[in-house]
Symmetry: C3
Subunit: 427 residues, 3 copies
């Protein structure tokens, strides 16, 4: 029986030799945005994933590669490298690698020597889907089918994908995505103003600050139902999805786009908060683009040339104490995403879960942790993790009003499957 | 017999499980300035004391509280919290705490569930005296009477209190306050120019750079006498007080105010240098206020919105090598307090006392260390520490000329008791 | 048989108790530039060498001293000290030290007490040669003769000496100086534009990117020959010198000055890259001074008042990706010295040599490491290290065209001895 401290370690450590790190390496990982490698032979990009320092580049033929960041020769960073003629050339002595990490040229050696054929850098396979470069960092013979999240399958016009640096462990960030009970407090200032929910019937039902939560397992993770009182005899239901190992889907509002996140470990004290918006049946509209561009909704203003938010821990998130006083911003921080980021980063790089006191509304968090631990343990015995089947990705969140008071009943009613060409269930 | 390294550890570590940390927790601690919490329901303030991260707030009724900085629920920082309607509400899920750390509301739970009554955050009692918020961090049944330093008892018009961040262990800072022999070197440039002593007869006697020190124990600490030659057959005596565990009192000059310090550990590598000035019988005058406002005397220019000095280790204390050359500033650093801070910070975060070579003038430092160690050891055997009785606080420093050459004799002559309505003994 | 990790530790650790640290302490060390102490009684300078924090000052008589940085009394930094009347006086209590570290005054004690005669700070002997202050940090009875590198012996007009901070271990920096094979890649953009080689016949021969390296031991280190094809039946030879423990000499171009480096450990994660240029028979000319002043050739633009380059790791070396694309700067970093510094710092503070894959062109690096390890081991058995005899310093690098294809033959031909008044062998 592990202690609470040991369980916290198990859940939060993601390096190659850690139990959770081995589990995560069985999934496709969103590694970087396609826009970061805008054209063939553009400059390479430093990428850190699951504590591994890597270099991404797009070769002359447009293929994306993810290699060990350091040249096999003298371990110089390939970030100074030149992508040219089908490979990345180290700036120090000109050693050149193709997208598979194979060394294809060592200028100081005659080609016939065969010297370079023996040199190969660690490399991970990459595919591009939905504006993101995905990679697989696990055992080659265990590579699962490609991910099929709906936002990766709709036309590019129907979708927006971005990411922001969050300076804490992935788990406390992801837990914020699972726990929708904080909306009534942390985001209460935005409930009727932000583009996320503005002008929808759903938003008006959220006055009930005491939702009932029910959580059931799904093939790929968890389905989380939150029930609020609506008109007499009716309930406002909001259904979230958590998909292994780090995806969360926010219940939608009216005809607005669907929104979701991926919480991807950079190392154990930083993660990428990926933000995805898509509409199943139409292009994103003017209002949605405005919200994206102005850092509203689930987006944030980023420091130009980086993915770090303008409001960050070094400037106390530009807290507006007057705005907090008037209730405009509940925590004084502007914007839903930075409200989440600031409060989660304030818990410390890795929060000490042995000191927390969970409440009934934390049932989703409790079950997600358990599912991660079970999957990590099962993997050690050779059991395949849940969520590898792309069918597990083709799900949606939903929001609706129903007379059904039991989650088992509404779960029947509601379509939670992402069926191409059909709109999502949303009020 | 502990080694010198072990003794240094004992003296400098102040966390909850350290010997010195346990000793310090038996005293009232100046925690923050009252001005940092200017009105009911103002923004909360992060406070770190003796290595514990805390949050201070002033509730709707004006009461000041000091709680664990992190919400009991998910350990979010209460710094983002809102002080409202008699308590501090966490910005994450709205859990609310009163000044005693009792959780009084969990919005997601019905009040009748009794959920919140079982939640209580660590809290320390607070009182306000003399412009400071005082707290007691020790065992509740051992709480001593409130402090009665004279500066806390005079009318507000007679006093000024401030603090500045010093980026080193409390002990080497406090030792500078005990050791007045450095005045003749480090502060020699200011001896006839600074507001602290300008225009007094006392300052003129300090030309004798070889004072004789005598140190005797007092009920609450030490009384330190420094004897310099005055007119033939006469001596200029300067009497300092060190009060357990971290108060020092500077001998006064003429009718100028009395000055003193408290050296309070933030953690083991930082401390608050509290600076207090008061006059027993009159309001501070125009000259004294000018010195305070311009960062002269024992005060420093602070970065607006913070208590960190403008001259600090990141900018080499704005050292003026030309001013040092001409002798205007002995060390090249401007101002008495920053001369002290810079030289003490230059010793490293925690100076290695196993490498020092003490001189006869360090007798006060030697005796203060011994007293701290003895008190920490005695406490482990259940002996009450010295200096808890407020009578120990109602003392003054003094300066005068006498024909007596022995400290035992002058200690009789001089009134070192802070008697309300009487002026201090000063030349 | 040590592991590769252990060997890497042995090679890179330079503190007083490390094997390599003990070896390095047998040599004269370039400690700082004479210009850093421009006149008698100027401000003292903080110096860190081989992980030891020291203070350098020039006393009233012009003598340079290097002492423990911290006063023996209370361990205040002597950086705040005043150099006056033949010694350095601590700003705290005025204790004064002469150039030998002997305490010569303690103002609070009567001179007749003899107190200060018992106080002595660690001090290292200093001499000035060639614009540098040299020190010896080893056992006093093992002090070798003074260094006689040619640049220290020519008239001041014939020489320039500077230094820049490099933020990595000395060894990976020095290895860049030994390995000239990277010129054809990393510095290829500068081969015909930079002042280092512009307009010389030698530069035109460097089109051959596949030089053959041969390395032979010399009394004081290694002689490294690189052979490139020249006109049919002829070879372009470039001869480098590596002198124990950290000197490298670049083969010259035409009548340009000779250039070299010293790679001196500050601590294990930083080093000084000393850069020296001299001409054996004439003053440096206008073009050479222009290159020096504009940060070309082996020099770099430094942040005013410091020896840190303007382009550094905090600003990604001001990388110019467009310039990299066009081939103007191979790695996108401007200037030969910053190309080296950036690529070497990118290997991490101490590169992990257990992960490298050396090539035939790395023979110089392999032999230099072996020589360092052998000398460190031999020293433990009492064997004097190589390179202490000043004759080992009086050598030169060279470049020439010869019909000889074997290094043994050209090594006979070429004059590699620094003979006063004779020009160097260069094409």
């Amino acid at each position: 029986m592990p202690t609470r401290e040991q369980t916290n370690q198990l859940l939060t450590r993601t390096g190659p030799s850690e139990a959770m790190g081995r589990l995560f390496r069985r999934y496709w990982v969103p590694a970087l945005l396609s826009e970061e490698l805008p054209e063939p032979d553009c400059p390479p990009v430093r990428v850190k994933l699951l504590s591994e320092p890597l270099i991404a580049f797009r070769d002359t033929h447009g293929r994306v590669a993810l290699l060990d960041q350091f040249c096999a020769h003298r371990r110089a960073s390939l970030w100074f490298g030149r992508s040219e003629e089908g490979g990345l050339r180290c700036a120090y002595h000109g050693w050149k690698y193709d997208v598979n990490g194979q060394c294809v040229d060592v200028p100081s050696e005659p080609p016939e020597s065969g010297f370079c054929s023996k040199i190969r850098l660690k490399s991970y396979p990459c595919v591009e889907r939905g504006g993101a470069v995905w990679t697989y960092m696990g055992p080659p013979d265990q590579r699962p089918p490609l991910p099929e999240f709906e936002w990766t399958l709709v036309p590019a016009s129907h979708r927006h994908v971005s990411k922001r640096l969050q300076e804490c462990n992935y788990l406390q960030a992801m837990e914020g995505g699972i726990d929708s009970s904080h909306v009534s407090s942390l985001h209460s200032g935005e409930l009727h103003t932000d583009a996320l929910h503005k002008g929808t019937k759903g938003a008006s039902y959220q006055r009930d600050a005491r939702p009932q939560f029910e959580v059931v397992g799904s093939p790929g993770g968890l389905v989380i139902g939150a029930r609020r009182n609506a008109e007499p005899g009716h309930y406002y239901w909001r259904i979230s999805q958590w998909i292994m190992p780090w995806y969360t889907m926010i219940p939608p509002y009216g005809d607005h786009a669907l929104h979701g996140h991926a919480w991807v470990p950079i190392d154990d004290e930083n993660c990428w908060a990926w933000s995805m918006s898509h509409h199943p049946t139409r292009p994103l509209n003017k209002h949605e683009w405005e919200a994206i561009r102005s850092g509203q909704s689930i987006y944030a203003d980023l420091i130009p040339g980086t993915y770090r938010p303008v409001a960050n821990k070094d400037n106390d998130y530009l807290i507006d104490r007057a705005g907090q006083k008037t209730g405009r911003y509940y925590s004084g921080v502007k914007g839903i995403s930075m409200q989440d980021a600031s409060i989660q980063e304030s818990m410390g790089a890795i929060t000490d879960r042995s000191l927390e006191h969970l409440a009934p509304t934390d049932v989703g968090i409790i079950k997600a942790r358990r599912r991660l631990l079970e999957a990590a343990h099962a993997l050690q015995k050779g059991v395949q993790p849940p969520g590898l089947d792309p069918a597990a990705h083709r799900v949606r969140s939903a929001s609706f009003v129903s007379s059904a008071a039991r989650f088992a009943d509404v779960a029947q009613e509601a379509s939670l499957t992402a069926e191409a060409g059909t709109a999502h269930l949303s009020i």
